[in-house]
């Protein structure tokens, strides 16, 4: 016990470097986003750089505060386009998370029921696509879904359709891409809790006369809820801000908030509005992020 305490002190010093790094490159940048989201777009100035003058030092801070304005947020709230983006991000994230749960659960369940020596292999097989480039996996789907791609060829050959179906630039393609990319994130936490499930509990349930389906809903599912929670959050949070998948696979008629941010920043060069969109997105994500943080701490640290 005392040895543990002696060990803890130098272990704490190990935090210094990563702590400073994260404060400088993770926490402080949010301050800049907030600051710029409250500043005004300077039309007269060159398209981007000097919207703000931090180089003047902290003496100019007071003046900077006076210049703050909520105009960018007013724009975000008043313009129907932005509200639509906001809502669409939520709808897409909720829908795809549900689909992921429906697909991921049976797979994770199947993995957990495999003989012990096969479980490691199955887990490896699920992880490997996560290691292959995410962009490449989306590109692989573009190959298949394009006008004269493999999918349409198969459908035509089977006489299921008479003319090629438009798959690219549709919501179905986007959902497919999202589900495809995030599936490992759903499967792994689910599998982790399902594999830990004590088989004796299932035996007890069936000894007591529960049908397999009842055993599942009364025993397995409730016990797997921590895994469900982790999987849902791991998918939902990044999907809300997803950019690449909707940009490459969905049509351009309606956008998600990540796309708006990208467009305002790179195409319109409107940094204040892009920053305001980032703040809005972040606000949306604060509750799930807090939940996720708690869950992570409980699973990783145990005694904390």
């Amino acid at each position: 016990m005392s040895a543990r305490n002696i060990f803890a002190r130098p272990a704490r010093y190990a935090a210094i470097a990563p702590y400073l790094w994260m404060v400088l490159f993770f926490l402080v940048p949010f301050g800049f986003v907030l600051k710029i989201s409250l500043s005004q777009t300077a039309i007269a100035q060159p398209p981007y750089l000097p919207l703000f003058e931090f180089t003047e030092g902290w003496g100019a801070l007071k003046a900077a505060f006076a210049a703050l304005s909520l105009d960018n947020f007013r724009l975000l709230i008043s313009d129907n386009l932005y509200i639509a983006t906001y809502l669409r991000s939520l709808v897409v994230a909720v829908t795809s998370t549900l689909i992921l749960l429906l697909i991921g659960y049976p797979i994770a369940y199947g993995m957990a029921r495999l003989p012990q020596r096969w479980q490691g292999v199955a887990m490896m097989l699920v992880i490997v696509p996560f290691w292959t480039s995410f962009l490449i996996r989306i590109y692989a789907w573009i190959n298949i879904l394009q006008h004269d791609g493999l999918l349409n060829k198969i459908l035509l050959a089977l006489h299921l359709v008479s003319v090629p179906v438009v798959w690219l630039s549709t919501d179905s393609a986007m959902y497919l891409g999202i589900v495809y990319s995030y599936l490992p994130f759903m499967i792994l936490p689910l599998y982790a809790t399902l594999a830990k499930l004590d088989p004796a509990l299932l035996e007890a349930a069936s000894d007591l006369g529960a049908a397999p389906l009842a055993t599942f809903w009364l025993v397995t599912f409730p016990l797997s809820l921590p895994g469900v929670g982790a999987g849902v959050l791991l998918c939902f949070i990044p999907i809300v801000g997803e950019f690449v998948i909707p940009d490459l696979l969905a049509g351009s008629s309606s956008m998600m908030i990540g796309q708006t941010l990208w467009l305002e920043f790179f195409t319109n060069k409107d940094w204040p509005v892009a920053s305001a969109a980032a703040v809005a997105l972040l606000l949306l994500l604060v509750p799930p992020l807090l939940l996720y943080d708690r869950l992570q701490r409980r699973t990783l640290q145990g005694e904390g």
Binding site: A15, F26, F32, L135, G241, W271, A274
Partner: protein, 271 residues
Amino acid sequence: MARRVNGISRFNVTALALGLAFLYLPIVILVIYSFNASRLVTVWGGWSLRWYAEFFNDRAMLDAAWMSLRVAAVSATLATLLGTLGAVALARGGRFRGRALFSGMLYSPLVMPEVISGLSLLLLFVALDAERGFWTVTIAHTTLTMCFVTVVVQSRLASLDRSLEEAAMDLGCDPVRAFLSVTLPLIIPAISAGWMLAFTLSLDDVVIASFTTGPGSATLPIRIYSEVRLGVKPEINAICTMVIAFIAVVIVAASFASKLSSSQGESAAPL
């Protein structure tokens, strides 16, 4: 009873098989078509390596690939150092002031939408008047990937038997010595797995790199992305296949490392 618990039902096997097919088929198709001789991506014109040759003649693509490899190597190394330190502090530091903020900062980038991380880092670099290019992308990737290293190393540390460190100290080692000679050798496999994860994540990123890079220093994913937006090209298939092959080599090495660390059983004996 035993049959129900250990046996696999047809439903389980089907779900698993379909799931794996869904995960792998698109990649297999992409790889096959990268050897297609035809200029039309959708028409099969026989086997050929011409698109691979095309890549090695594409100066801009080669530059981007080189840039990506350098960024990935440097950022993964930095991330491994910082991430391991963070994991040690979280797993062995007990309670300390600012711990909640520390763990929050280390866990949230794992799920933080990349557009937010990218934009916020860019605004910081502009405010610091940093020249954008290799180092800004490297710093950005380090920030993201060190969190993954922390999670990997921390879960390994959590499953390690602490009595080993304590025994070393009872036998007269000071804490640093106990860590270096007892703990570190045991978590080396997790650390190397963390390095490889950081490396592949950096090699994969397009959003954060787009925000933080400067003119003339595009990474490979940025190049691929801008080509992909214009449509499918056989050369891109070839490049993607090479990236996949390269990462596969990295993964095989990583799986050896994790096999060594016996990450399977949680209560596995540490020696």
